[in-house]
């Protein structure tokens, strides 16, 4: 039995301007100790997927419409608030994108670090404090026994993210959800933070869901990858399958955008257009308006069904374009097509 088995997770936001289909039928699973990377552009529903699992979606306007998320045999989406509180911070922890705003500026680091321990473990405050100092040392904060009494504003961004990691892992959870943990940080610090997450994961055997739009990070640290677009699953598989045998046009285009894989001196490749407006219903394939592949048939139609290509590797089998050729050929052939302005809202 996998540690986490998510099936058909669907989260909508019911706003005055209509229903925003932020996450629309996403499924994945995760074994103990494994790392799953969720990738996609901004607004593709990666973060909302994570928040839905933790039930941190503001309700209203958000609502988890359907789906199941079996964690250790229990459905996270059906838990009572009390049961949820027992899971949050104990079995599942989370780190957030912006370390500058994710720590409470009014409370000492020590108070915030030991909070989860006090909540979930029968531990006296002295032992908890020692554990907190230990946790800070493990994420590489020098002078931890003194700095534990500092306030968040006395730390730099990278240091704060280390504190967040220490805080999330202090209860040795089974699952760590990291929502773009490096996006708000300096490039030099990003690598350090990823290294710390990986190292702590190895020490504790924690499974990790890593949300990112940095494909380089995914290639370096994930066992499995889920590619999302417009709130939907486009393709999923092992890191090798996704990187060496991408099937979906979006996955292929996304890979083309990795800066380090592009020739030096050349203009960087970008996918033209904008991500879809998920407040309007999407017909057919969500990526269709921006797809560089030759189109076949009308874009209106049934949503592409997920189809297995090989064991563990599936894609939203799109019948609206001819995606048999590798993307390089298509891009070379249809240079004018790519250059055309594309209406992203279509």
């Amino acid at each position: 039995m996998p540690l986490l088995d998510v099936d058909d997770l669907t989260t909508y936001f019911h706003t005055r301007d209509g229903v925003v289909r932020a996450v629309d039928g996403v499924s994945f699973n995760l074994e103990r100790g494994e790392t799953l990377g969720i990738v996609g552009e901004s607004g593709s529903g990666k973060s909302v997927t994570c928040y839905s699992l933790m039930r941190l979606i503001p309700e209203p306007p958000g609502r988890i419409e359907r789906g199941t998320a079996m964690f250790d045999g229990r459905d996270l989406l059906q838990m009572s608030p009390k049961e949820l509180r027992k899971v949050r911070g104990d079995k599942i922890s989370m780190i957030f994108q912006d370390p500058m705003t994710s720590l409470n500026p009014y409370l000492r680091i020590s108070t915030q670090l030991i909070e989860a321990l006090q909540m979930h473990r029968d531990i006296d405050s002295k032992a908890a404090l020692n554990k907190a100092i230990e946790a800070l040392e493990e994420v590489g904060i020098p002078g931890a026994s003194k700095r534990v009494f500092s306030y968040p504003h006395e730390f730099s961004g990278g240091m704060r993210q280390r504190v967040m990691i220490a805080m999330a892992l202090i209860t040795e959870p089974d699952l760590l959800i990291a929502d773009e943990p490096t996006t708000a940080l300096d490039v030099t610090v990003q690598a350090q933070i990823m290294e710390i997450i990986k190292q702590r994961q190895n020490d504790l055997g924690t499974a990790v869901i890593l949300v990112t739009h940095d494909l380089g990070v995914v290639a370096g640290s994930c066992d499995k990858v889920l590619v999302m677009y417009g709130g939907r699953e486009m393709e999923s598989g092992s890191a090798d399958q996704i990187f060496y045998r991408p099937r979906h046009p979006y996955t292929r285009a996304l890979q083309k955008t990795i800066p380090s894989l592009q020739e030096k001196g050349q203009e960087l490749f970008t996918i033209p257009g904008l991500p879809p407006d998920v407040s309007k219903p999407i017909h057919g394939c969500a990526f269709h308006p921006r797809c560089p592949y030759p189109k076949i048939g009308s874009p209106e139609g049934e949503r592409p069904q997920l189809e297995d290509i090989e064991p563990g590797h599936c894609w939203a089998a799109c019948g609206f374009c001819d995606s048999s050729a590798p993307i390089e050929t298509v891009l070379a052939k249809a240079d004018d097509h790519v250059a055309e302005p594309v209406d992203g809202d279509a």
Binding site: R88, T101, P105, Y151
Partner: protein, 305 residues
């Protein structure tokens, strides 16, 4: 911190000096004199009176003399009530205003702050709408409407409470309620705003992700920051309650400072006007200093400098 307080007190002294000078000039520039009355006074007698109060000297000299007296704690005689000094008048009426003011402020805090917290936590439910519409009405309704209204209902119709005077504890109820409700409304709105801002912060989400229950999030994570707007308002509020109570003091016939302020201005009682102005200014300076100290204590990002 001591250095900070000393520096701020010094600054406060300068502010008070400025206020004293400006008030002095304004009072001197006002046409008429404290000694003119409907009855004609013989010019020799008037000259004698003016000489007694020092009005025959040039303005600069008068300013220096009066400032010297004030620095020694003597605001001078009342120009209208011949047998009393300004200090005596303040000593009689200030305790009354302090008593009325502190009870009103306490009432305002006890009603306003919890209502604001409740409204923020239960936002967009009737527990938010009800206290917020009541407080909106409270802000819009001036004390000179609220006061007579309360007096009418509880004094004249229900005959539960006295409507005027200052003789015993029951005389405090209506004026303190009138003043307190008005400021309670402000505190409620400020507390709601402050708490809402805190509850929408990212770190509240972090706390929830740790499994922290909602009540702990409110008390431990949000209250400190959420109260800052209300505490900032505390300084002006106290000064306003004590000085601004002159409407309420007039309605309920309370022998407090506010009444004297009005009377002094109408009578052109120069020394009394000056004395009361400096007193109010000093209160505002001290309250603001206290508020700043409390703010630094609440917000670790602030430093004394």
């Amino acid at each position: 911190m001591l250095k900070f307080i000393a520096l701020r007190l010094l600054q406060g002294m300068l502010v008070l000096l400025g206020i004293y000078a400006v008030t002095f000039v304004l009072v001197a520039a006002t046409p008429g004199s404290p000694f003119s009355s409907e009855r004609a006074i013989a010019p020799e007698i008037l000259a004698q009176i003016e000489a007694f109060y020092g009005y025959d000297k040039p303005l600069g000299e008068r300013f220096i003399t009066s400032l010297g007296n004030v620095l020694q704690g003597e605001f001078g005689p009342s120009a209208v009530y011949a047998n009393r000094t300004v200090t005596q008048i303040i000593a009689e009426s200030f305790p009354v205003s302090i008593k009325l003011g502190s009870i009103s402020l306490l009432l305002a805090l006890v009603l306003g702050v919890p209502a604001g917290i409740l409204a923020a936590v239960k936002r967009n439910t009737w527990l938010d709408y009800l206290p917020m519409s009541v407080s909106m009405a409270g802000i819009c309704l001036p004390t000179f409407v609220m006061g007579p209204l309360l007096a009418l209902v509880f004094g004249l119709i229900l005959k539960m409470l006295p409507v005027a005077g200052w003789y015993g504890p029951e005389y405090v109820v209506l004026p303190a309620t009138t003043l307190g409700l008005y400021y309670a409304a402000y505190f409620a709105r400020l507390t709601r705003g402050g708490m809402l801002e805190m509850l929408n912060q990212d770190w509240v989400r972090t706390a929830r992700a740790k499994g922290v229950p909602e009540h702990t999030i409110i008390w431990k994570h949000c209250l400190k920051g959420g109260l800052i707007p209300a505490i900032t308002f505390l300084g002006p509020a106290l000064a306003g309650i004590i000085s601004g109570s002159f409407v309420v003091e007039t309605i309920f016939q309370i022998p407090g400072l506010g009444q004297w302020f009005v009377r002094a201005a109408l009578n052109r009682d120069d020394f009394l006007v000056l004395g009361l102005t400096v007193l109010f200014a000093a209160m505002i300076v001290i309250m603001n200093l206290l508020v700043d100290i409390v703010q630094v204590a609440l917000n670790p990002r602030l430093k004394y400098d």
